[in-house]
């Protein structure tokens, strides 16, 4: 029987990996998700046949409650709230790993082998940190907690102190596994540390934080796999851990900040003196002016930012794009990696507005085309088109890869007001001669443009 279960786990692993492989193209991605689902089903069924399981009542209760909640969340959640959902699920994943480690601890009375108790301590720690850290991230994204960094004196010192306490408690428990108090101390320390590590990180850096916590939830699963000597947990944990790490690295490169800078530096605090540009003027244009520019254009690149989604204007924008395409104008979307509040968020928001994905281009693929483009249209985006990032060494944005909107022949920017973006600095692009600022609600402005453009 055990051989069959082991082979089933092997099949499950293969299906998981094939599932991820199919995620490499939007054509096969849905199939990939189904493969991963089957992998999970195979693993669950195989586990249920194990001899150790004698009582199914609570299992069934748990599965039903969990499925119901899962279905409700999946059906109801708005795409704009995806970052919050991912943050929440990261936390739940960490929590589940910690709980299983605990349950296993209490189940195994008697001599605990070294590798098992070490894995338990690690799994409990990572799981608990991920749980509370993710809940804080959720709170910041949802607006329940202040998005501004909560910084206080000696914060780093406190964190290091707490981590040292964990190491001491960990060693104590490893030497004497019967020390339940020690284990609970570790749990308490981890829960507190999770909060303390994420609370000083600003709302603008949340995309990196949730990617990192995604990775941690995977590592917690892998650690639990070592506790249970279960290879499929180890494999899945490794896959998820690797995925999170890759996304974290991509996010950091896109923001040009290192991971230690984000975690240990309280960024998002405005340090630049913006006083010197007071006497520069910005010229406000009307939708009629913009219409003339667009009608005579042959190539247009649209740069959407999160502000677009906040204004719920993505559907209107797609209407505008369709109108332009119908006039024979070449229109493409340029998506900056940190547009939106999590990796790939902007793409999903646009897909929801029925934008065909062959119109969506990444920064790397489209940045060289701006110099040959007649009009760049910026909606709800700010820092990602700020030329200061290229040349101004004192700008907090310096070094961050940006979209070359300023290289286009004309730039149209739809904005509510002149207020700065996340970075808090002024955008050089607004003051350039070729830039047409259109102030107002994005949805209203775009609707007006559509009306004016239709023959």
């Amino acid at each position: 029987m055990n051989i069959i279960i082991t082979l089933a786990y092997l099949l499950s692993s293969i299906l998981f990996i094939l599932g991820l492989k199919n995620l490499s193209s939007p054509k096969t991605a849905r199939k990939g998700n189904l493969l991963a689902m089957s992998a999970m089903l195979v693993a669950i069924i195989a586990t249920l046949t194990k001899n150790e399981i004698v009582d199914f009542t609570f299992i069934i209760i748990g599965l039903i409650i969990g499925s119901t909640i899962g279905v409700i969340i999946a059906r109801k959640i708005h795409m704009t709230a995806m970052p919050q959902m991912v943050a929440l699920f990261n936390g739940l994943g960490g929590g589940a790993s910690a709980l299983v480690a605990l349950a296993e601890y209490f189940r195994l009375t008697g001599d605990l082998k070294l590798d098992v108790i070490v894995s338990m301590v690690v799994s409990l720690f990572i799981g608990a940190v991920t749980l509370t850290g993710s809940l804080v991230a959720f709170g910041k994204l949802q607006g329940l907690i202040r998005p501004t960094p909560v910084v206080f004196k000696a914060q780093h010192f406190l964190n290091i102190l707490i981590f040292t306490l964990f190491l001491i408690a960990g060693i104590i428990v490893i030497i004497n596994p019967a020390n339940i108090t020690g284990l609970l101390v570790i749990l308490a320390i981890a829960l507190v540390l999770g909060i303390l590590l994420v609370i000083p990180i600003g709302g603008a850096d949340m995309p990196v934080v949730i990617s990192l916590l995604n990775s941690c939830s995977g590592l917690a699963v892998a650690a639990t796999g070592f506790v249970l000597s279960n290879n499929i947990l180890i494999i899945c944990g490794a896959l998820v851990g690797a995925s999170g790490m890759i996304l974290t690295r991509i996010m950091c490169k896109a923001m040009n900040r290192s991971i230690s800078n984000i975690i240990f530096g309280a960024a998002g605090t405005i340090s630049r003196d913006t006083g010197k540009e007071d006497n520069r003027k910005v010229i406000a244009y009307t939708e009629e002016d913009a219409t003339m520019m667009l009608e005579s254009a042959q190539t247009v690149i649209v740069i959407p930012g999160y502000g677009l989604a906040v204004a719920q204007a993505q559907f209107a924008l797609q209407e505008l794009v369709k109108t332009l395409i119908n006039k024979g104008i070449n229109v493409r979307y340029a998506i900056h990696p940190v547009a939106g509040r999590m990796p790939g968020h902007m793409n999903v928001l646009l897909a929801e507005a029925n934008v065909s994905y062959d119109l969506l281009f990444d920064l790397g693929d489209i940045n060289n085309d701006f110099q040959n483009t007649d009009v760049a249209v910026v909606v709800g985006a700010n820092d990602v088109v700020n030329p200061s990032a290229r040349a101004d060494k004192e700008s907090p944005l310096y070094g961050m890869p940006i979209l070359n909107a300023d290289k286009a022949k004309t730039v149209i920017i739809c904005k509510r007001s002149l207020s700065p973006g996340f970075s808090g600095v002024d955008n050089e692009l607004f003051y350039q001669k070729k830039t047409m600022m259109i102030f107002g609600d994005a949805k209203d402005s775009i609707s007006k443009l559509i009306k004016l453009l239709k023959p």
Partner: protein
Amino acid sequence: MIDPLLVALYIFALAIFVGFETITKVPPLLHTPLMSGTNAISGITLIGALISTGAGHSVLGTVLGLLAVIIATINVVGGFMVTDRMLEMFKKGKKED
């Protein structure tokens, strides 16, 4: 006979390599479904929770296990469903007009 722990470490190392190789090929277009999908996959902890809940050893173990089953199932069901919902939206060249 190789120590199972060593085998487990081999598997962990190889799985990380496989993870890196497969996931670097996922385009930024699909990064959000990737995150929700990996959330679902991390629900594999359910497997461990099932045993704790069903082994009937102690009340504490069963309670902890039950909690873990509920949480892990939310991740699995919610994660896969929301990923499918998103992937369904990615279409190419829809011509409705």
